[in-house]
Symmetry: C2
Subunit: 588 residues, 2 copies
């Protein structure tokens, strides 16, 4: 207030070319060094920092004020840019060749000593960071991450704008749409006893926008899930949400690939090869035991069950008798592993619930293995060939059902990557996983559940056995996996009422219940619904990957803790009794 | 499903240059005309419509299918574009010179007969439109409005991106910030008895982002107010929200003018003259009786109180004795108004609570008026000069306090514009109203209230009488008024804790209450808060103006009724008892 030095430059933008210019700067005192006669202040703003020189001979007033300045004081200054003397050049700093000779200095706002140091390389305790988020966000790593986030969003929007997508807003105060999680609800004061739900996704609205003929829709939109929070989940999250009419799965994927190509090029300088590989869900389970495989690493799974069809070993005979499989992979990244390392892996596999990990190491023409003497020559050769073992290379095998071995081998594979510090073949690996099963069987509730959501279209060629063999039906669905993380996915939707009703019935939704929950959708499908499909991506997760962070809270300006608390504002909070009264609510 | 004709063109894009090309189209049957041998279908998509010709000689199958087609059926076709015979050209249609000779036709989805006709010029009943919103949105006027909305948002974002603003997301599940309306609240399940509030605006978060050093922030963001709904309000609305550091009011306004210039140029082809006029709040009340004046029309108010200081008329003497004013304006748009018209205006003024409207009409050297014989020559001349009356022109005068005459004259002025169908001088008039009083006195609650919000900065030169004469203090605030509607506003904020605490005290907030509600802000102001200010605009209102609509619901894809109901989905709805139980809530 009351300062009249309109900024001419940002601190971090000053270069040699500015020498001789009179500039006005504003910012925060990053550091202060008192060299007897002269005081140096590093002044910082969003763009970076620059050195101010306060010489009492040039301005006694500025020098006196600089004397009082402390870290994080907000100041404005005016002065001339000059080249630093050669010995004072700081090559580590973008502005390191210049400094500003201060003629006027003004204190805009003093600052208390911050509860933690705002310096590169210092990461304070997280609860302190969240409590003083506005100070945490001053750290350059946080500034860069949120700038990257803005760049991703901007790039996504410009791509979609150029490709005929229309940004359309869907409501936040809406009706519950079951997406597998609990809804956050909002009591209505004007209609006591009734509640809005905050959207878990704009799924039904975007489908209605297709029925309305908007053809291509997108939105970068907040969504909400009232979950018991895991480390990488937030009660509110941001979704890049898209829907297209008159398309098949291939066209959706191609469109998305164009979008991600641009994002990776613009924010990471990485040229993505398109089309991206596409793996069916089944194939992904066979090769990686996982539907979000990290293709930066090898160690694909081979199935060796056949090899042991007539094994002499009781272990294999019994397992195969129970209908189990023998599956495993070649361990990359370490040759001739020691017994200690192998024992450690056996121990890890045991922790996954596996009865026993079988390791083998190729040594010349033989196989070193605890099971060595139970294996026939043919089996040994088969293992070497099946896993593709070179000299000194090890293979890891597990017995169990397809599901058991999938889960365990996938976790073992991820463990090995970490344990042996494997170098990725490429900084980014992207793959589509397609053709998920439409349903899964929920043991607990004794009914089928949608693998994605109830609006996902079964493959046309599987329609005939929808009722007869529901678990055999695959869907027109696709998930995008980047470096082993699912960043989003989607599907072609059901656009005919009769099919939607068949799927509801299979999910155990009675006619009345289906109508009550989804009557408006069923009705809309009867008034000229085009074939359509779409996809949604978690922006937070995507930015986390692009920024190389491993905590979702680091990519959100004001995140919540795992109990859903905002440590900065103290939300959630109690209400005034009057507020509860107006809502006709009572807490119990 | 199962169709394999990938679209090659959009219907509305076909032109003469496409003649001879094989195209594949998808869309909705707009109309069907059976001309005996040949059937014509108009196929419509987002881009427009084109005529399909189904000739049984070219494809008996397509012709048979076309025979069954009804309005709003979804179809795909393939065929050759050809020039229409000259006599069949439709100049009213962008595609009117061509038609598509259909070789293949496919029915993608049939449609029930819609509950209302989807044709230009037909506006169905609004509750029916909201109930079947996906059909209402197929009407070209709705498509155009939402496309315009997307264009406005896109233009705003690109301007702000280019001008150093960073898009940052603030939380939706947050703590109550009092902005004058009720909060919508969200019960926390993980912390029973506690509630989040949905933001009425991201006000405090954007200020914290300035404290965090982001320098320039923007967001196009949903906000919420639980109000008793008026015709032009929605419980959720979209705000263009901005904040800047190290700026004064002038810089914020200049930045906004650049943004609006671009918006008006790109979506309306209108060149806005900048800088926009700026009127102080006081001056606006004097000239228009209103802080959202419509400058497209004249009829500015003149104060004539002085003229009647020694009036012979008891009417004037008594009014002036009570400290009242004499104010009025020259009626534009009608000369030598009839007695009937003048009586009608008197009646209108009476409806506003005015004891009596005094009209005068200049006739030669004399004034026609019911008060004519009570007016001295000097007063008559004074009125003619004061109001600037030409021959035959009428003036309208009111007596009353400044506040009373302001309100009544402003409503009378708006009424005259409508009543006499006045032509605006320019299609768009934009003006800043600045320097609002910081406080107003709330008679009911017996305390001062913030005119904008409690974070608005008083003018530096008024700081001294903050406690002594609070009502004299003006603020560094600005509202943007377009064609008589306030589309948004903002202010320079308080950035020092001591001043913020003084303002809280004046607002009657005890120290403890201030700390409980705003402790995090007060604390942040002590850790190096830069001077900052910002502004927020209602996107819905802005789009409504730009689209020339007069119903806010027409610019929102899925709006709510005045009772907050979504007629399409039926939200808000009752909860399952289990949901209420998990939230530990009871409805009463």
């Amino acid at each position: 207030m009351g300062y009249d030095m309109r900024r001419t430059h940002m601190c971090g933008d000053l270069r040699e070319g500015h020498a001789g210019e009179e500039v006005a700067l504003c910012g925060w005192v990053n550091t202060r060094r008192d060299h007897g006669g002269v005081i140096f202040l590093d002044l910082r703003d969003r763009s970076g920092l620059v050195q101010l020189v306060c010489n009492p001979e040039l301005s006694p007033r500025a020098h006196a004020l600089a004397h009082q300045a402390r870290a994080e004081y907000v100041m404005a200054c005016r002065g001339e840019v000059r080249l630093r003397p050669p010995e004072a050049v700081n090559p580590a700093l973008a502005t390191g060749k210049v400094e500003v000779m201060v003629r006027e200095l003004e204190l805009l706002n003093p600052a208390q000593t911050p509860p933690f140091e705002i310096q590169e390389g210092v990461t304070p305790d997280e609860s302190l960071r969240l409590r003083y988020r506005y100070l945490d966000l001053r750290r350059s790593v946080m500034q860069e991450t949120l700038l990257l986030r803005a760049a991703v969003t901007r790039t996504v929007r410009s791509y979609l704008d150029e490709n005929g997508f229309i940004e359309l807003e869907t409501p936040m105060l809406t009706k519950s749409t079951p997406e597998g999680a609990r809804d956050f609800v909002v009591p209505s004061r004007l209609q006591p006893g009734r509640f809005y739900a905050l959207p878990q996704s704009p799924q039904l609205f975007k489908q209605l926008l297709m029925v309305a003929g908007f053809d291509r829709y997108y939105q970068v939109v907040k969504c909400f899930r009232d979950e018991d929070l895991r480390a990488d989940r937030q009660p509110e999250f941001t979704q890049i949400d898209m829907e297209m009419s008159f398309v098949d799965a291939d066209e959706v994927m191609t469109t998305v690939e164009g979008m991600f190509s641009r994002v990776f090029r613009e924010v990471r300088g990485f040229e993505m090869k398109t089309p991206l590989p596409r793996l069916t869900w089944r194939r992904s389970m066979e090769l990686y035991g996982d539907d979000r495989p990290d293709l930066r690493f090898g160690m694909t799974i081979s199935e060796l069950t056949e090899l042991f069809a007539s094994s002499e070993s009781r272990l294999f005979r019994e397992a195969l008798g129970r209908g189990e499989s023998v599956r495993g992979f070649r361990l990359d990244g370490v040759t001739s592993p020691s017994r200690k390392i192998l024992d450690e892996l056996v121990e890890f596999a045991r922790g996954l619930g596996s009865a026993g990990l079988i390791w083998v190491v190729r040594e010349g023409d033989d196989l070193r293995s605890p099971l060595s003497r139970h294996l026939s020559e043919e089996e040994k050769t088969g293992i070497v060939e099946g896993l593709g073992l070179g000299e000194g290379e090890a293979g890891l095998l597990l017995l169990g059902t397809f599901e058991e071995t999938s889960e365990r081998l996938s976790r073992l594979r991820r463990h090995c990557v970490e344990r042996f510090g494997m170098e990725p073949r490429t900084p980014w690996s992207m793959v589509w996983i397609v053709d998920f099963p439409l349903f899964e069987w929920d043991e607990e509730e004794g009914r089928y559940k949608s693998n994605h959501h109830p609006f996902t279209s079964p493959k046309t060629e599987h329609l005939d056995y929808l009722e007869k063999e529901p678990l055999r039906v695959l869907s027109d669905s696709y998930d995008l996996v980047i470096n082993g993380s699912e960043v989003g996915g989607g599907s072609i939707r059901i656009h005919r009422r009769d099919l939607q009703e068949r799927v509801f019935r299979l999910l155990g939704l009675g006619e009345e219940e289906a109508w009550e929950k989804f009557g408006f959708l069923l009705e809309a499908l009867e008034y000229g619904a085009p074939p359509h499909g779409g996809v949604a991506f978690g922006l937070d997760r995507l930015v986390m990957l692009l920024a190389g962070r491993d905590n979702i809270r680091d990519v959100i300006a004001f995140p919540k803790t795992q109990s859903g608390t905002d440590l900065l504002t103290g939300a959630p909070d109690v209400l005034y009794p009057q507020q509860l009264g107006e809502l006709r609510l009572k807490t119990i």
